[in-house]
Symmetry: C2
């Protein structure tokens, strides 16, 4: 293990000292569910592996005195009520689902660090003999990844009201299984209602190279990019790839190829300001000797600038029409999901900076391009994401890694922030907000 900030941390700096060994043991325990060789993780939302990981968390809630709750979209909560029913609620957590062949830290580290941090705060408050000023709820959000069911952030979006419950329950995976069916199948179609908290905190791996390159152990996502996600079908005509004359083909995949290539060029025009991708492509009937009759593209446009995003959408729509005309096929835009760009809570950011400065460490302000549950929550309450370094900037891949000392330091700052909220209540972040 490299010498990191946690290793050199003076004992007095940690308001609520976390236990790095306990944290590491929890990460090991949860990584069993869906874990494969070389760090690979296959824990798709509402799969048997996800069920097993949820079972582990439910057991942890039970063993540690947290009251469990599951809502109708399967979000899994554990409530620690130390301050009485009327006190403010601070929610903390992330998600346990993973990408296919993803890594073990994306999401799960945030849930495990939430568990560790709340335990540390409880212990510290007990040691001080003072009742906390707020209650804590740990959360595991359903289908954050959007790998099995689209869109991503499904659980947190229903929680905030950004998505309708019935609509969300009707989303289907590639095999036609609905979210409602999948929830039933794993026993997580819950009936509990959980209120919007007074603040939400999430710890997450950066999933980018900035912290590592800066040699810094901690960041916070202060600004989030917007995204426009298209589900686009080109509709051609199935035909034999042998005799059918080239001029008579209506090749849906060819039109898809024009759009994939065109999106790359479009991003190039905007330098670092626009990200574009086609991550998923479904071809029908997908037989080697049949001209594709349909190609379904999952397109993403992302930018911190609403103006660039709007312009990119216009350009995409022109590109789609041109590709369809060139390949002599039709098209249907089957869905557009849009997420606006914005800023996370300034008071929570100031609180993070104060907690980190006690360890002599600055907090690097980052953009998050990807969606996070805390971005969903930011629409309804103060929210912030602490970011810990990703080795090589890698995410969504088995080699995804956050060094143990960085895991521990992130958990420590999270615990210190929760301790400030437990001792000062919400004034901890209102003051922080005013001081900026």
């Amino acid at each position: 293990m490299r010498a990191g900030p946690a290793a050199s941390m003076p004992p007095s700096a940690a308001g609520a000292p976390i236990d790095p060994a306990r944290l590491a043991a929890m990460m090991e325990a949860v990584s069993v569910f869906g874990g494969g060789e070389g760090g690979a993780m296959m824990r798709l939302a509402l799969s048997p592996e996800d069920k097993a990981a949820r079972g582990w968390l439910a057991g942890w809630f039970r063993d540690n005195g947290f009251a469990p709750a599951v809502d109708a979209i399967g979000n899994q909560f554990g409530r620690l009520e130390l301050a009485g029913p009327g006190a403010p609620v601070v929610m903390v957590g992330s998600h346990l689902d993973s990408q296919p062949n993803g890594g073990r830290f994306d999401g799960a580290l945030g849930v495990v660090c939430a568990c560790e941090a709340v335990l540390a705060v409880r212990t510290e408050m007990q040691r001080r003999g003072v009742a906390p000023a707020c209650n804590f709820v740990i959360v595991n959000w359903t289908n954050e990844e959007g790998a099995r069911f689209q869109p991503s952030l499904l659980g947190s979006s229903v929680f905030t009201g950004a998505a309708e419950l019935d609509w969300a329950l009707g989303r289907r995976d590639g095999d036609g299984v609905s979210v409602a069916q999948a929830l039933d199948a794993i026993g997580y179609a819950g009936v509990d209602t959980v209120a919007v908290p007074d603040a939400f905190l999430e710890l997450h791996i950066e999933g980018g190279p900035v912290l590592e390159r800066a040699g810094r152990p901690l960041g916070a996502f202060a600004r989030f990019w917007g995204a426009s996600k298209y589900r686009l079908a080109f509709i051609g005509r199935q035909a034999h790839t042998g005799p059918t004359p080239m001029a008579e083909r209506k090749d849906a995949l060819l039109a898809g190829a024009y759009v994939i290539a065109g999106l790359k060029d479009l991003a190039g025009e905007y330098g670092l300001e626009l990200h574009t991708s086609v991550g998923r492509l479904e071809v029908f009937p997908n037989s080697p000797n049949t001209v594709p009759g349909e190609a379904l593209l999952f397109i993403e446009l992302r930018s911190a600038s609403p103006e660039i995003l709007a312009k990119a959408e216009e350009r995409l729509e022109v590109m789609i029409s041109a590709a369809a005309a060139r390949a002599d096929v039709a098209f249907e835009v089957r869905a557009i999901d849009r997420r606006a760009a914005g800023r996370m809570d300034a008071g929570l950011l100031a609180l993070a900076e104060k907690a980190a400065s006690a360890h002599g460490v600055p907090v690097i302000a980052l953009d998050t391009v990807s969606g996070h549950d805390a971005v969903s929550l930011s629409a309804v309450c103060p929210a912030l994401i602490l970011a810990v370094p990703s080795v090589g900037g890698v995410i969504h891949h088995p080699t995804e890694l956050t060094a143990p000392e960085h895991q521990a330091f992130g958990a420590q700052i999270l615990a210190d922030m929760l301790l400030a909220l437990a001792t000062q209540g919400l004034s901890a972040i209102r003051h922080g907000g005013e001081s900026r």
Copy 2:
């Protein structure tokens, strides 16, 4: 029903009159297995539907006095021995497997017409009180389509020795199921050995527009195109489509898109002489918010000219390298299957012309661009494919259709050719060959 050649045919013209109603009833019967709405057919090789269709054919063999045999690659034979063990063998048939969401006539019509034609010849020889000069074998070849298992023409290629049995048994479908496992599962891992015949005849839908546009009811594939089929993987690096900077992505699908677009342009350079396609594309992990780590393309190049095909392969390989460099990914050519261009048997073609001329109908000489089992057989014995018109040239689609009178007329010419072989033996095609 339109008035077609069969309807206006004088009774004397048919050497061995077929029964159009019996033919139609057999087409209806076999279309039950895997048949769906609007003419759709889903009878993938060695699937439960294929097993059911094979069961139907086995019952037909039993009911009509044909001796059944199944070889190690699952080719299904029925032998009618009327001429004694030492006599020449004429084999006739096609395949019962279909494309996914294909039509009902591609393949099945050829098997059913073989059944009808051989019955008609038996009846006619019995009426004449003459023993035939040859024996007949009806065949249903395994996995002609190449939709479930690659390559196509698998059963006939093993039969001729062009493919090794063990290699063929080891081919796997998209779910990892091998041909050997699939044969076992449906009870068609046979142990019989069937000899190469003295001639092979196949009736097949044209699957192209030439006959319909010419207003002619019959063609014969006199020349077959060659094909080079590549299985090409681009290997990039999985990463999150959100934060990963565009310049750092290694997008395997992007490279695939460059090749798909490039292949279309390449075909354009050769006018009608070169067909290119990517009919199947597998993307891994195929998640909307993950940069594709791998894209597997099933590429086909087809031409009647060996020179053009060789040049197209060179151009493709340059294109692959350029696409990989441009998208910053690696690539692997995982397999290349090549089928040489060539000509079908001139003697059988002359026999077809003679049989059709008795009905006042010419035989249109066609190229076949797609593979057919008779093309496999042409490497080891005289072989020919009779082609019947496809409405709108459609094939590999539920709307695939051959008019009933065209089905019947094709079956009639097939029967008349078999009758000539039954009465004259192989001299019927040796003379024919010399007369051209």
